[in-house]
C-alpha cells in the first residue's frame, strides 16, 4: 500500500540522515529517483531490485579494503565484514580483571598487525592508575617478544583519574602521528557513557587512526563504538617440537573472541591463536588443540627436548635446488596440524 511505501521512504531518509550525522562511510541505501516506487506489498526479500541500487549493510557501507584491519582469521573477518574498522573506536571487554592479559594481548596483536602494515609510528597506551595497579603495567620486554613492538615505539600515559585519562585519549585520538591509541579503563564508570565514547569515536574517525578501548571487568553498556569484542583467554596449544607437541608445555597465546556488538555480524565465537614468530593470527577450529588436555598433565619426560625452529615454521632454505615436493604452504589458518602432517614432515626434501 502507498502508506507503507511512504513509511519505507521515510525510514530510508532517516537512515541516510543518521549516517550523515554519525559520519559513517557514505551510505548508498538510496531508493533513488530512478528506482521505481516499489509495490509495498512485496516483501523486501522477494523484491526485484533496480539495477542501479546497491544494497549494503547498514552503517558500514561498501568501503575500500583499507578501511578495515583484517585480523587474518577468515571467519572472524567475514563475520566483521572485512575486519575491524581502522578509523574508529573499538571496544574490547574482559569479563574480569584477571582477563587483562588476554584483552591486552589481543589488542596488542592487532597493534602489531597495524605496525607491520603502516609506517613505524609510536603507540600510546593510556590507562588510569587504578587499572595499571590492578592489572599490571605493560612490560616492554614481553611486548617486544610477543608482538614485535619496540620499546621506542611505546608511550605510556598514566592518569590519576578517569577524567584525565579521557582527556588524554581525546587529545591523542585526533593525532595522526600515532599509529594507534589504547585506552584502558577498569569497571563501568558513569563518565564513560554514550557521549564520551561518541566523542572518542568522532576524533578517531577524523584522524583516521584506530582507538582501542580496553574495558577490564566492564559491563556491556551503550557505546558509540561500531564494534565490541568480548575476549577471554583460551587454553594454549602445546609447544611444537621436532618430536611432536611437547606434552604439558604452554605454547602460543590463544584467545576466545566473541562478538558483543557489531552492526554487521551476528554474535559468534571464535578461537584465535597468535603466532608471535610470524606475527599473524591463526584460527583454531574444533577442539583438537586441547582435546586431551582437560586433565592437568605433566611432561612424562622432563629432559630437554629439541624445539622446532622458533623463528619461522620452515627452517632456512638450504643451498641447492629443491627437486621435488614443493612446499605446500602454511597449513590452513587455525587448523592445528595433526601429528601426521606436522610441518616437520612436510618439509621439502633437498638434495644435500
Amino acid at each position: 500500500m502507498a502508506t507503507s511505501a511512504v513509511a519505507r521512504e521515510t525510514v530510508f531518509a532517516l537512515r541516510r540522515q543518521i549516517a550523515k550525522i554519525e559520519g559513517t562511510l557514505s551510505e548508498r541505501l538510496e531508493a533513488s529517483a530512478g528506482a521505481a516506487p516499489v509495490d509495498a506489498d512485496v516483501s523486501p526479500q522477494t523484491l526485484t531490485l533496480p539495477r542501479n541500487l546497491t544494497i549494503v549493510r547498514r552503517g558500514l557501507a561498501v568501503a575500500s579494503q583499507d578501511a578495515f584491519l583484517s585480523t587474518g582469521a577468515e571467519r572472524l573477518d567475514a563475520a566483521l565484514s572485512g575486519g575491524l574498522p581502522k578509523a574508529a573506536l573499538s571496544e574490547f571487554h574482559g569479563a574480569a580483571t584477571r582477563d587483562a592479559g588476554a584483552v591486552a594481548g589481543f589488542v596488542l596483536a592487532l597493534v602489531s598487525l597495524i605496525l607491520s602494515q603502516g609506517p613505524r609510528l609510536p603507540v600510546l597506551w593510556i590507562g588510569t592508575s587504578e587499572v595499571f595497579r590492578e592489572a599490571g603495567f605493560p612490560y616492554a620486554r614481553g611486548l617486544h617478544a610477543f608482538f614485535g613492538i619496540e620499546p621506542e615505539q611505546l608511550l605510556f600515559s598514566e592518569a590519576p583519574r578517569l577524567l584525565d585519562a579521557l582527556w588524554v585519549a581525546e587529545e591523542a585520538a585526533r593525532m595522526t602521528a600515532l599509529a594507534a591509541v589504547i585506552l584502558e579503563i577498569r569497571g563501568s564508570p558513569q563518565r564513560l557513557d554514550l557521549t564520551a565514547t561518541r566523542r572518542l569515536h568522532a576524533r578517531a574517525q577524523s584522524a583516521g587512526r584506530p582507538l582501542f578501548l580496553l574495558r577490564q571487568a566492564g559491563e556491556p553498556e551503550p557505546t558509540a563504538a561500531p564494534v565490541r569484542l568480548i575476549l577471554s583467554a583460551a587454553p594454549a596449544a602445546a609447544r611444537q617440537t621436532i618430536a611432536g607437541p611437547l606434552a604439558g608445555s604452554i605454547g602460543r597465546p590463544a584467545f576466545t573472541v566473541a562478538i558483543g556488538k557489531s552492526r554487521t555480524a551476528l554474535p559468534g565465537q571464535f578461537t584465535l591463536e597468535w603466532n608471535p614468530d610470524e606475527r599473524i593470527f591463526e584460527e583454531r577450529r574444533g577442539e583438537q588443540g586441547r582435546s586431551q588436555e582437560s586433565a592437568p598433565e605433566r611432561p612424562k619426560n622432563p629432559l630437554p627436548v629439541v624445539s622446532a625452529s622458533r623463528r619461522r615454521e620452515d627452517p632456512a632454505a638450504a643451498s641447492g635446488a629443491v627437486l621435488a615436493f614443493p612446499a605446500v604452504g602454511s597449513p590452513a589458518a587455525g587448523d592445528q596440524p595433526s601429528p601426521r602432517e606436522r610441518p616437520a614432515h612436510r618439509r621439502p626434501r633437498r638434495t644435500g
Binding site: 584477571r98 587483562a100 592479559g101 588476554a102 591486552a104 594481548g105 596488542l108 613505524r120 609510528l121 609510536p122 595499571f132 595497579r133 592489572a135 599490571g136 603495567f137 605493560p138 612490560y139 616492554a140 620486554r141 614481553g142 611486548l143 617478544a145 610477543f146 608482538f147 620499546p151 621506542e152 611505546l154 608511550l155 605510556f156 600515559s157 598514566e158 592518569a159 590519576p160 584525565d164 582527556w167 588524554v168 587529545e171 591523542a172 593525532m175 595522526t176 602521528a177 583467554a233 587454553p235 594454549a236 604439558g248 608445555s249 604452554i250 597465546p253 590463544a254 576466545t256 597468535w274 588436555e293 592437568p296 598433565e297 605433566r298 624445539s307 625452529s309 622458533r310 623463528r311 632456512a316
Partner: protein, 492 residues
C-alpha cells in the same frame, strides 16, 4: 605588639607606633609591659610566617630586578644595576617601590647606594636616601656603630673605648682595630665603603631571557593572560632566534596588584620558540591550575622568562610550508599532557641491561628521543643466524610490586604449585612451565647485607586458560623461613 620567648622570659619582639608612644621598648619583658599597661594586645611571634611573608615580598620585588636577596629577617637587597632607567631613574624607582609598598600596607624604609653596606645603613639610619657614588664615607661618618652591620659584642667593646660613631672608627688606625676587634669589623667597613666587593646572592637564578609587560589596567581573565602570553612569546621569539636557541623551560610570572606573585612553569621536550605553541602549553597549565591561582584584584605585570634554553635545530619546510615532522607533533602533545597532569604523565620505556625482570625496563618521563643518526636496525633475515638459545618468555604485563599468593601445596618441593590463591580467589593450575631461576644481582647489593633469595619463576596456565607468571622466593629447606610465592606478571 608581638612577643617572643627569649631565654626564660616572654619579651617584646616588635611593637607598633602606638605601643611605642606608651614608652614600651623592644626587649622589655611582657610581664613588665602588662603591669604598665594592662590593656595592650599581645600576639605570639611566628618567625616562620614572617619568613614566608618576606619571601613573598622578595618574589614581588622581582618586578624591579631579577637580583633579589633576603637580608636577615627583616630586609631585602635589590640589585638594581642597569634596571633604574626602566622606571625613570633612581629617584622615581625608589618612590615607586615605596608607594607600592605603602599601598600594600607595609611601612618600609629604603636606601639606594653603590654598595650593599651603604644602602643598608642608608635604609635603616638615613631614611629613603639615595647616596651618590663616592659619598658613602660622608653618609656613614655621623652614623652610630650599628650602621656598620657588626656584632653587638664588637659594638659594645668599641663603645667602651669611646668609639661611638662610624666616623670615629674610620678615623682610627686600622692595624690596632683589626688586632683588637677582629677582622670582621674592617671587612664590614671596607664593604660599606666599596673598597671590597660584596656579593649579594640572589634567591632565584636569573633567567637568560625575559620579556614583560606592565599593564595600566589589571587583568583578571584567564583568556587575557593567555593572549598576553602569546604576545610576550612573540617578542621572545626574535630574541631566541637571534641566539639560535629554543626554550626548554619557561616560567610565567603574574604579579598581582596587591603584591602576590604566581609563578607558572612549563617544560618542553624539545626546544621551542613558536609563540602559538608556547601559548598552547600555558593554556593547559592554566587550565590545570585554575583553582590554585587567585587573581584577586587582577595582575598588573606579566613576565615570561626562559629559564633554560637549548640549541634549536632549524628544519627545512617542504614546499607547502609545513614540516611534516611527526616527532614534533608527539613532543608537543606530550608537553601539553605534562603541563596539565604533571611530569610523570607521559612515560616511555627504556630497556636496561639487566636480567632482573623488574629492572630490565625502566620507564622514564618522555623527553625528546635521542636523534638517531643511522636508521633503526632492521632484523636482517638473511644474515640472522638461527638462534639456538631460548629467549626466556616474558609476560606482557608486570605488577609494579609482586603480589603475594598463597600456595598450599606443590607436587615436588621445587616444583610448580598445584593451585594457588591470589586476591582471595582460588586458581587451579592446569599446566606449568619452569622453573626459570633468576638470581639477584649480587654486584648491586650493599656490602654486608644479607643476600636476597633467588627466585624460581614458573609459567602457569590455569583451568580457564589464563597464563600467569609466578615465582617462589627462596628454597625449601635452605633456611628456617619457608619460601614465599608471588604473582609477578600476566601473559597474553
Amino acid at each position: 605588639m608581638i612577643s617572643h620567648r627569649q631565654g626564660n622570659a616572654q619579651r617584646i619582639a616588635a611593637l607598633d607606633e602606638r605601643a611605642e608612644a606608651l614608652n614600651l621598648k623592644r626587649g622589655m619583658g611582657i610581664a613588665d609591659a602588662c603591669a604598665m599597661h594592662p590593656s595592650i594586645d599581645i600576639v605570639e611571634a611566628d618567625p616562620e610566617a614572617d619568613r614566608r611573608l618576606l619571601e613573598g615580598l622578595a618574589d614581588w620585588c622581582d618586578r624591579y630586578t631579577p637580583l633579589v636577596a633576603l637580608d636577615g629577617t627583616d630586609g631585602l637587597y635589590l640589585d638594581v644595576t642597569g634596571c633604574t632607567h626602566l622606571f625613570g631613574g633612581e629617584r622615581s624607582m625608589l618612590d615607586d617601590i615605596l608607594a607600592r609598598f605603602f599601598h600594600q600596607g607595609f611601612d618600609v624604609r629604603a636606601g639606594l647606594a653603590a654598595t650593599p653596606g651603604a644602602a643598608w645603613a642608608a635604609a635603616r639610619f638615613a631614611g629613603d636616601r639615595i647616596v651618590p657614588d663616592g659619598e658613602e664615607e660622608a653618609l656613614l661618618a655621623p652614623m652610630p656603630l650599628a650602621a656598620l652591620r657588626i656584632d653587638p659584642e664588637v659594638r659594645a667593646s668599641l663603645e667602651s673605648v669611646g668609639l661611638r660613631t662610624a666616623g670615629a672608627v674610620m678615623a682610627a688606625p686600622r692595624a690596632p682595630l683589626a688586632r683588637r676587634f677582629g677582622a670582621s669589623l674592617l671587612l664590614r667597613l671596607d664593604q660599606a665603603l666599596g673598597r671590597l666587593d660584596e656579593a649579594v646572592s640572589p634567591r632565584l637564578p636569573v633567567a637568560p631571557l625575559s620579556v614583560e609587560r606592565h599593564l595600566a589596567e589589571p587583568i583578571l581573565l584567564t583568556e587575557d593572560i593567555e593572549r598576553l602570553t602569546g604576545m610576550l612569546a612573540t617578542t621572545l621569539k626574535s630574541d631566541l632566534e637571534r641566539r639560535g636557541e629554543g626554550a626548554r623551560r619557561l616560567a610565567l610570572l603574574l604579579f598581582r596588584v596587591d603584591g602576590g606573585v604566581s609563578r607558572i612553569a612549563v617544560g618542553t621536550s624539545r626546544p621551542l620558540r613558536e609563540p602559538r605553541l608556547i601559548q598552547k602549553l600555558f593554556h593547559e597549565r592554566l587550565a590545570a591550575l585554575e583553582r590554585d591561582i587567585d587573581a584577586g584584584y587582577g595582575f598588573d605585570l606579566v613576565r615570561l622568562s626562559v629559564l633554560t634554553a637549548a640549541a634549536f635545530d632549524m628544519q627545512q619546510a617542504d614546499l607547502a610550508g609545513e614540516t611534516s615532522d611527526d616527532g614534533a607533533d608527539i613532543a608537543l602533545f606530550a608537553d601539553r599532557i605534562r603541563a596539565r597532569l604533571g611530569e610523570g604523565a607521559v612515560l616511555k620505556p627504556v630497556a636496561v641491561e639487566s636480567h632482573l625482570p623488574e629492572r630490565a625496563v625502566a620507564t622514564i618521563p618522555f623527553t625528546e628521543a635521542p636523534q638517531r643518526s643511522s636508521p633503526p636496525k632492521q632484523p636482517d633475515k638473511a644474515k640472522d643466524a638461527p638462534t639456538t638459545v631460548f629467549q626466556p618468555e616474558r609476560p606482557i604485563r608486570l605488577f609494579r610490586s609482586p603480589e603475594p599468593i598463597e600456595v598450599p601445596a606443590t607436587e615436588m618441593p621445587e616444583g610448580p604449585p598445584l593451585n594457588f590463591r591470589w586476591r582471595r580467589a582460588l586458581y587451579r593450575v592446569a599446566r606449568a612451565e619452569g622453573p626459570e631461576r633468576i638470581a639477584p644481582e649480587w654486584w648491586r647489593e650493599a656490602a654486608g647485607r644479607e643476600d636476597a633469595p633467588t627466585r624460581d619463576y614458573f609459567r602457569i596456565e590455569d583451568a580457564d586458560g589464563r597464563r600467569y607468571w609466578l615465582y617462589r622466593q627462596g628454597l625449601y629447606g635452605a633456611s628456617q623461613v619457608p619460601p614465599r610465592w608471588f604473582m609477578h606478571g600476566i601473559f597474553a
